[in-house]
Subunit: 373 residues, 2 copies
Amino acid sequence: MELKHIKQSQWSKARAGVLNTDHGKILTPVFMPVGTVGSVKAMSSQDVKETGSQIILGNTYHLYLRPGTDIIKSAGGLHEFMNWHGPILTDSGGFQVFSLGKLNKISEDKVEFQSHIDGSKHTLSPAISMDIQRILGSDIVMAFDECTHYPISKVDAEASMHRTHRWEKASLDYFREGGSLYGFQQHLFGIVQGSVFSHLRQESAKILTDMEFDGYAIGGLSVGESSDDMYEMTDIVTDILPQNQPRYLMGVGKPENLVQSVALGIDMFDCVLPTRNARHGLVFTWDGPIHIKTAKWKEDFSPVDSSCACSTCQNYSRAYIRHLFKAGEILALRLASIHNIHFYQDLMTSIRKSIIEDTFQQFYTSFFNTYKI
Amino acid sequence: MELKHIKQSQWSKARAGVLNTDHGKILTPVFMPVGTVGSVKAMSSQDVKETGSQIILGNTYHLYLRPGTDIIKSAGGLHEFMNWHGPILTDSGGFQVFSLGKLNKISEDKVEFQSHIDGSKHTLSPAISMDIQRILGSDIVMAFDECTHYPISKVDAEASMHRTHRWEKASLDYFREGGSLYGFQQHLFGIVQGSVFSHLRQESAKILTDMEFDGYAIGGLSVGESSDDMYEMTDIVTDILPQNQPRYLMGVGKPENLVQSVALGIDMFDCVLPTRNARHGLVFTWDGPIHIKTAKWKEDFSPVDSSCACSTCQNYSRAYIRHLFKAGEILALRLASIHNIHFYQDLMTSIRKSIIEDTFQQFYTSFFNTYKI
């Protein structure tokens, strides 16, 4: 999988590119909404499309437990099941096993865990994760890794990193042997680990690059470390990763994190933050996030953001959305989610446009001047 | 307000007509989805429009308490506030005061009650209900009445009915004195009461007809009495109500109730049943309702109803909707609600078409042969 370069920023490591998949082109930098259990929460696939989203993320752990691979396979894969016909990236399941499941045993070649839903026992391994993602039929498959918690000692981070590398190599070997179930190509990304230790991150980036994945993710960040640490690790890693392949910063982040990380050479992002915040009434504007539930907006009949073209801003006022939240109406969650995802996509479109027009520095400066965190 | 007759069924009392409002024509018989607190639950106004709904109902009690009349007035009325530009009917608030609020005192000229939300004290009267509905700006306003519980003694039903008549006369006098706040015409409907007592229903229908309302509702049914009683009361009342004005059976009902009541001369219906059932996973098909959560549908990739043109049936399968319900995904509620409201509108369109084409008897027979209750 090649990242076709459209433009390299001269001022920073930012780049605008195109990725080709059998479900369509992806213009980068790109933000991927998270469709945890087969839907981007509170939104239909049509809603997601209308926000300008190009690719969504599905969670292997969640989909494996519910509805399960038998049903997804009968449906003809996740695209068909959820009626999303653009590209899909699936994670490896590892992150949720470590964060949500009850971990029973990690050994050299597999992880045994219990479901957070019903306590049932399951096993994940590089081969099992590849098999599940083959059935899900994602366009981009993630290698099976361990996402370490934070903080972690250097010794533990290093041991985990080396096992992760062995798991990723096993993922790659198993993946390359198999074929696609549904007649379109799947691509495999490796994941750089190493916590906040520069030398580990450098070592991980080099080892993975040598394995020749289709693309590279940076995992284990946005897990509690400082933004400075996150940016420093990202900067170190993107110096090493190949120029002509996509780079994906997993689980990031806030709007300001996206702008900053694009400057550090990142092409792809995913995060539950815009939808989760939406469900709590925190909505984004170009002046910064606002709490829509506060009394301040009770008679404000203007849209959430006056420059936003999303269906929420075109049709509904701050006062109405505030009322829906106060009254516990389900519609509130959808309207806020549509707006937040659309805001993120607008942000990415603006970033990309500025890179192409060689005005990314001005965009960057202007964004941080007006966007109040 | 005149019901312009398009066609009178020769086989039954069913009629197809047109009602004109300043927010558009209403083709009858019509089903009105209930937008309790400013939204038809789980649906946007755009969703509601796309189901083919012509007019929605707003609950005066709920909207008075939240967001309150100040905010609705600032917004320029309920149409503007919720971005619904078709006709709106509002109830009088009486039903919810008696069913949801904590009733403190009923006197000859007013009802004192406490909010079900925060216990705050409020008063409703014919004049106050008219004032609130004037601020809401509904196209059709309901007179303030008392909806008696069931069962009730004839003596109590009669006393309540007479007070209701006095309240309705007071509503009418107060309403006729006032004007519209937003420059479009509002119409006032009277409500026939009398529980399940034929003579009371006849008396109520005659007294109200003499008051010359714009239209007539039948209240106090679908509150626990048998379907036979409901149909009998409806039949008696529609024999008396004027032919050239709309007749509205309040709070009804199931698909079979709608078909039967149209045959008895009813033009308008509202009910929370299609949306409430949707949120519990009960969805309608022309063969009868089905429980979408059951394991039977887990690998059924056909739509809820194969003849349905709603956005849910055009895009999503029974298996997917079942999965969303099982996984607790919010989207399930919207997809099921859209389908159920669309099903109701399809039903009304089919009824109307058959009346116009003089095939209502065949439609009626065919419906009850195939629709399994």
